[in-house]
């Protein structure tokens, strides 16, 4: 562990250190640590992988392996708003593909990509668990149900 080169003392990533301190000595801490790091920084950056490995006493390759296994973790910065368009069964039979197409068209990006201004990321998911409202998408933690392609633009416009 080192301070940064800017001359200030103290750790370079204080939030990361705070998270690691809270999980010190706990078993099975890797996934919760990654979840918290991602919540704090928006994504899992390279220095974090190295530092987490060091703190938990496991190889950096294992941290990388876990971070890339789960769909939830991202190694690149993501948009301020994550649009999760449900591609589950119930939504599929009620026209989810058209909703996804409308979102793609509106934002000009493909699923998994982020807009250049870091405003939106599209993430297809399989079932958001509110199939009664199919087709469904979530923007951050808000659920929008009973969608039609023409509602998409208006919904997205509300997220700055």
């Amino acid at each position: 562990m080192s301070g940064c080169a800017c001359g200030n003392s103290g750790p370079q990533y204080p939030e990361l250190e705070e998270i690691l301190a809270r999980y010190a000595g706990q078993r099975g801490a890797l996934i919760p640590v990654l979840q918290e790091v991602q919540a704090a920084y928006g994504y899992i950056f390279e220095d974090a992988i190295v530092r987490i490995a060091e703190a938990l006493g496991i190889p950096a390759t294992s941290v990388y392996g876990v971070a890339t296994f789960y769909a939830q973790f991202h190694l690149k910065p993501r948009g301020r708003h994550v649009v999760r368009v449900c591609q589950g069964t119930a939504c599929h039979v009620r026209g989810a593909a058209k909703i996804l197409a409308a979102v793609e068209k509106e934002l000009g990006i493909k699923p998994g990509e982020t807009t250049e201004d870091l405003r939106f990321t599209i993430e297809p998911v399989a079932c958001l668990g509110c199939c009664g409202l199919a087709p469904v998408m979530m923007v951050n933690d808000d659920t929008h149900g009973r969608l039609t392609p023409d509602k998409v633009a208006e919904i997205l416009a509300a997220y700055e």
Partner: protein
Amino acid sequence: MQLFRAHVLVCGGTGCTSGGSQEIRARLEREIQANNLENEVKLVITGCHGLCEMGPLVIVYPEGTMYTHVQPDDAAEIVSEHLLKGRIVQRLLYKEPMTEEQVPHYGDLPFYKKQHRVVLSNCGYINPEVLEEYIARDGYAALAKCLGEMTPEEVIEEVKKSGLRGRGGAGFPTGLKWSFCRNAPGEPKYVVCNADEGDPGAFMDRSVLEGDPHRLIEGMLIGAYAIGASEGYIYCRAEYPLAVKRLKLAMKQAEEAGLLGDNILGTDFSFHLHLKEGAGAFVCGEETALMASIMGERGMPRPRPPFPANSGLWGKPTNINNVETWANIPDIIRRGGEWFASMGTEKSKGTKVFALTGKVQNTGLVEVPMGITLREIIFEIGGGVPNGKKFKAVQIGGPSGGCLPESQLDLSVDYESLTAAGAIVGSGGLVVMDEDTCIVDVARFFLSFTRAESCGKCTPCREGIKRMLEVLDRIANGEGKMEDLELLERTALVIKNTALCGLGQTAPNPILSTLRYFRDEYVAHIQDKKCPAGVCTNLLTYSIQPELCRGCTACAKVCPVGAISGEIKKPHVIDTEKCIKCGACMEKCRFGAITLG
């Protein structure tokens, strides 16, 4: 305790919340205060009532009046009419889709009449964020009974007597599983709740987690006591933020009340419960992968044996059950195993919660006794297929399940019958499909799902599913050959027999069942190069019916590739070479002039 003359229940489930139920609650609260009713009327925000299709829902007791599709602006009328003057607001009542008849009472709705609610008995009635409300409905009485009057062996005996089988998919007898773990050597022992609910089209566990979290905690406590476990984990998928929040709150309340932690209810039984959030991998619902994930590793399944009962978390004896399995336990202990066994069929006891979705009138959660027929669920409870369309198939059990046709609808819903018919009870997703659903497309849909979610550890699943998907893509694009059907069947059987875990072993089911019941539709794609349902875009062309087209130009404006041309007020035409078959024009046309064929 303060007595209220009326209770107003506002559904706070995910469906109704997205429809604005928080705003409705706030407006109701303001109106109640404005009319000085706060000492007479109690406002409660509850878990899901199941009838998500009709949400947001507001229910007024003691009458049991159910208001559907409530909007914030309706709050004033509900308060001034119903609560002040005792007059029901007719226009907000549920209307029977066939007869247009209004149904004022909750219990009289066809949707609820045939249901038998055990696991969901509190969902929609109590405020899930208040421990006392659970206790008022006999909550934690079963735990007290176990700790006070029953030995762990007696608890296991009672669960065995009930005939309860795991609700997570495989249907393994729960009592037997518990006894394996109890008898396995090793300390400490763990109990785990599988709340990963990854099957697309399934949300029953979510409802329990959000609507009645203490029921799950009580079930796990009883299991831990019976098995001799001192620690437990709930593994909840991260896509359920509300469930995570309510579970955390419930665990904190239980700890403060001495129901979790050391020396529970003053006995020497101690149990510590932890919550782990999943990280977005379907395969983590498989028990060995789930345990790997709890231990902070990549969630990859491993071969069994050893079973978790002998070597689970950190190599110790571990008992994993599904949310709904755990949620059945308190009632089994309180009302007895025999009571539970009196419901259902010979080999499948009790009730099961199904998530009824897709092309059906009343989508939502239904809890029914095992042994009910599919027809009763889909047509009586679900109200049948909307918009006068024809029923085609029902998909049961998610990506591991199968598609059943009309001819199988009188089948009894139980583990054995459904398996024999080529589907499974599985987690309980029922997705109804109508004549507009293409069976080849559905099979492709499930295979793309399992292909994406395969962890890649074993070859049959990693490579085999991919190959099958390529064949299906060919068929959907009109390039299939008749030999492909045989190839599909052969590959499916190899994967079924050789894959490492349940994901791969069951992934071919959607293909096998559709080939069994809907072979004609595959043949139509291959020989006639036609998609009868009009879904597989490469087999379709859009065209404009000149006699219906008014030349309004709406279609030409919406076409993203400029494939539509024509003069204003004259019939337009589509250039099929340019057309990318997005369907935008058809949606926009107000005159039904654009057809697909």
